[in-house]
Symmetry: C3
């Protein structure tokens, strides 16, 4: 069986990491696939998907702080919309992740969670999840 | 059905983003696969694949500008070929992307295009596309 | 046939790139799959997987040097464990890679090798490899 599902995210800040692990896990459960791969994809160009620590929420803030440390906002860009730093962060982190599915579950590490990265919010965003 | 196809790219600058969305879409069409995943992979170590805005070409230039803002060229590297900054950019952006296929088409966002990133051109380069 | 295999890595430095190409190739050979995709995934949040030059080992050191050039250690972070720079490097490089399998072999470029990136060692680490 092959399936795809989408869900929406409402970001509340300009830059924000949002934990979507349970949303993705629910799609995997619903797919009834026990061995396979899960693709997490966001169809936006100023957002991204990453996998990182799920224990201390400070890490999420520190990742954003690390990216802002690059001071991309200080560059004189051509794109008139003014959000080129958001586009660059999107390409640096990447708009998708894959996670292996084993015994019907996401094979994440103990400390791993899946995060939607908002780099140009607040906005309503979409995430596609495909299980194969 | 499982297939793989390759095509060549001729870059004309040292750093350049080249839109390969239509090349990838053509492989997907030719595969006759309606639901699946498309893997876009470049077998080079000073190049990358990224997904980003396809509307304003200024964004492509701004992404390169953002990467050059890191001033990697100012570092004293060991690799004698002198292109370590290109290798680093390749690992930061990554040499592959995945896109979900739905109803026979790439499930890209409205503003998303697929780009080959040249970081050590001009050169002739290869891209592999696999559909599953 | 669908399979997954894991192996351990022992890093010896705080920051280190370790060539895992032959370990991954062995899993592919053992899978007897001739056409497909190989997923390389590390379940850690201060490590990553990347594909880059396998000829001159200096490139591996230069990639680490490029990342340390960002001076992430100079930032005042919230996460009390003190390894936020390692978490950020993990998200920048990414905890997984995919490689196409063709005629029973990894379709790597001539100069490409697969590397485990240690950003918070020395430690014992895991890598999962799935072939589909």
């Amino acid at each position: 069986m092959i399936m795809i599902q989408s869900f929406s995210i409402h970001s509340t800040s300009h830059d924000e990491l949002i934990d979507i692990t349970s949303d993705v896990a629910e799609v995997v459960r619903g797919s009834k696939i026990s061995e396979g791969v899960c693709y997490i994809y966001t169809p936006h160009t100023t957002a991204a998907i990453t996998i990182n620590e799920n224990a201390d929420p400070a890490v999420q803030k520190d990742i954003l702080k690390g990216l802002s440390h690059f001071k991309l906002e200080s560059i004189s860009f051509s794109h008139l919309e003014g959000n080129s730093p958001s586009h660059i962060k999107s390409s640096l982190i990447g708009c998708s992740e894959i996670v292996i599915i084993s015994q019907g579950r996401l094979l994440l590490g103990t400390w791993q969670g899946i995060y939607f990265c908002e780099f140009d919010g607040p906005r309503t965003r979409k995430v596609h999840v495909k299980v194969m």
